[in-house]
């Protein structure tokens, strides 16, 4: 069963075509890697799927809802973690969890229980009452992710979730992704770290607003007879004409 469907999804800003008629599908329970160089159009595509931006043409479906007409319905079924840290810095750790859980309509009691569980799992018990802005970056990202999946969405969208942190923190982060996936949450993740691409079930590579290839990492390496995803990526990226921004 497909939980994300895109057909000729296009987004133009003036003369600039950020996303150029992309079509793909993501299966339920998959970890789908959405790769591409900076400026390839990943974030724009993802924002359209999340209902944050309307497509210029083409259509898409997320969790069975149309992204243009039913975007508010989609929002109840997804979680989202943006590239820029976007929890409330002036709220405490537990207050951020409580706020977003509350917005998604989780009952008060359940919020309390699950917050305690979560903080314990993350080892954040001591930081429960810390203002979020004073957490180190790696912790902020873990918290953002946890908030994004706290209400058990069907799908979670992660935009460059591991930008700027060291490899060991990135590994820990991917453990969390796997854990969420094991709970049945479909994961749609953009990244430009190619070692992370290896962790995905399937990946697509976007170049200049178009999806160039879409397959499992092992198949891609076979087709391009490359030793790593990194190599595959570099071959693709060479085709790019757009400037990196």
């Amino acid at each position: 069963m497909n939980v994300i469907k895109a057909e000729n999804l296009t987004k133009r800003f003036g003369n600039f075509t950020a996303v150029d008629a992309i079509s793909f599908e993501v299966k339920k329970g998959e970890i789908f890697g959405f790769l591409g160089a900076n400026g390839a159009g990943k974030t724009t595509a993802m924002r359209m799927l999340c209902g944050l931006s309307s497509p210029t043409s083409g259509r898409g479906e997320v969790a069975g809802f149309d992204i243009e007409k039913q975007s508010e319905k989609i929002k109840s079924s997804i979680g989202y973690m943006s590239q820029k840290f976007s929890l409330y810095g002036d709220l405490k750790v537990y207050e951020n969890i409580r706020l977003f859980a509350g917005i998604y309509g989780m009952p008060e009691k359940k919020i309390k229980v699950r917050t305690d569980e979560l903080l314990e799992k993350l080892g954040f018990q001591k930081e429960r009452n810390t203002l979020v802005k004073s957490l180190p970056l790696g912790w902020k990202q873990k918290l953002s992710f946890s908030v994004a999946v706290f209400h058990d969405p069907q799908i979670v969208f992660l935009d460059e979730p591991t930008g700027g942190v060291d490899p060991s923190a990135r590994r820990q982060f991917w453990e969390m992704i796997y854990e969420a996936s094991s709970r049945g949450i479909t994961v749609f993740v953009t990244t430009h770290y190619m070692d992370e691409a290896e962790y995905c079930h399937r990946v697509s590579i976007m170049v200049d607003g178009k999806i160039e290839v879409l397959d499992s990492p092992s198949n891609l390496k076979k087709i391009y007879s490359a030793a790593s995803m990194d190599e595959v990526f570099h071959r693709m990226a060479r085709k790019a004409v757009r400037n990196e921004t």
């Binding site: 508010e72 109840s76 943006s82 409330y88 207050e95 917005i103």
Partner: protein, 370 residues
């Protein structure tokens, strides 16, 4: 769901290092200091007298002017040019020129004398008032002379006795005029500027996107933003009532309830307007400038400091669209005239219409998509 959002707004306001101090301190300082500033009462007018007559009569007039209490004699100038210099240096406000045959014109030849009053009218009102006070004293002076020297003609002098009566504020206390006006200004500024910076602040911080990707309803989100300012408005108003009573012994002639009801509608208007501006702004700076622009205009053409009646027709039309005008009318009527709901029906309807328009607009202009 709204509970969590409101909780969050309050926490953000109170956790800010600056906002709580501003919300408490700004109204206090304003209400303690500013009511004393407004005083158009024209007294202690500085006068230069050019006495070309040097007669007992002209000296007597000068004495009378000084003893009236309105005027302070700065100097007896040699000539008009010297007196004008005083005006230029702002050391004097009015010049009275007494011609050289003043006394003889008045008493000997009996053909009547003439004087010249020159008043600094850079501030037109003050200039005209000073001149008319002086003319009044001169009229009294001639009446005095007539009483002292009765003549057949002065047996019949018609005297019209003009009795002023100042309704609602018999002692012409400017503080009664200012305190309600300042309360309106405070509500407008605090409940207008803060929301104008709010949503756009979240846009700049990036938290807006995290909210937009949740299923939160637009009107719920806007309502959660409004309610804290509504509460702040009530707080400011109550603080204002307290200061008005304890510092200036002012109590509204009408009921507190009327003011609270009208204020609660008014705060919704300004805050809603602030949110509309915030929705359309890309940066906080933009939001601030746009709001500043509107608030200044709204305050100045509300009739708060200058009467609406004196405005040209096009400005009067603008005032019809100015919610502040209605609210200031309400505040003054309730505070001073003791008006109740029935007297303020038009204002009530007008304010409700504004409240609905701005808040619906705030919901509609908040777009969860970019």
């Amino acid at each position: 769901m709204i509970k969590y959002l409101i909780e969050k707004e309050f926490k953000q306001i109170f956790r800010n290092r600056f906002l709580p101090r501003l919300i408490l301190g700004f109204p206090c300082i304003t209400l303690l200091l500013m009511p004393w500033a407004a005083n158009f009462e024209v007294k202690n007018i500085n006068i230069s007298i050019v006495d070309n007559d040097h007669s007992s009569c002209s000296r007597r007039l000068a004495d009378k002017i000084v003893s009236s209490g309105y005027f302070k004699l700065i100097d007896i100038a040699e000539n008009y040019a010297a007196a004008l210099e005083n005006i230029e240096l702002d050391s004097s406000d009015v010049i009275l020129e007494i011609p050289d045959n003043f006394e003889s014109d008045l008493t000997v030849t009996d053909k009547g004398a003439s004087l010249m009053i020159s008043s600094n009218a850079v501030n037109g009102t003050k200039g005209a008032l000073s001149a008319s006070y002086l003319a009044g004293i001169i009229r009294d002076f001639s009446a005095e002379l007539r009483r002292e020297n009765p003549s057949p003609q002065s047996a019949f002098i018609p005297v019209i006795n003009i009795i002023p009566q100042y309704r609602f504020n018999p002692n012409l206390d400017y503080k009664i005029f200012m305190v309600p006006a300042l309360m309106v200004m405070l509500l407008t500024m605090l409940c207008g500027f803060l929301p104008a910076l709010n949503i756009v602040g979240e846009k700049e911080a990036g938290t807006m996107e995290q909210i937009n990707v949740t299923p939160v309803k637009k009107h719920i989100f806007i309502l959660a933003k409004l309610i804290p300012y509504w509460v702040i408005g009530f707080f400011i108003l109550t603080l204002g009532f307290g200061i008005a009573f304890f510092v200036y012994s002012l109590m509204p002639a009408g009921s507190f309830l009327t003011i609270y009801v009208f204020s609660s509608i008014y705060v919704l208007i300004v805050s809603g307007f602030g949110l509309v501006i915030s929705n359309y702004s890309k940066t906080m700076q933009q939001g601030m400038f746009v709001m500043y622009f509107f608030i200044l205009i709204l305050i100045l053409i509300s009739g708060m400091f200058t009467p609406v009646n004196s405005m040209p027709w096009w400005a009067k039309i603008i005032t019809v669209l100015n919610p502040l005008k209605y609210f200031i009318e309400v505040m003054r009527s309730v505070y001073l005239m003791g008006s109740g709901f029935t007297d303020l029906f038009i204002q009530f309807i007008a304010l409700c219409v504004f409240a609905v328009i701005f808040n619906v607009w705030a919901v509609l202009s908040y777009s969860k998509k970019s």
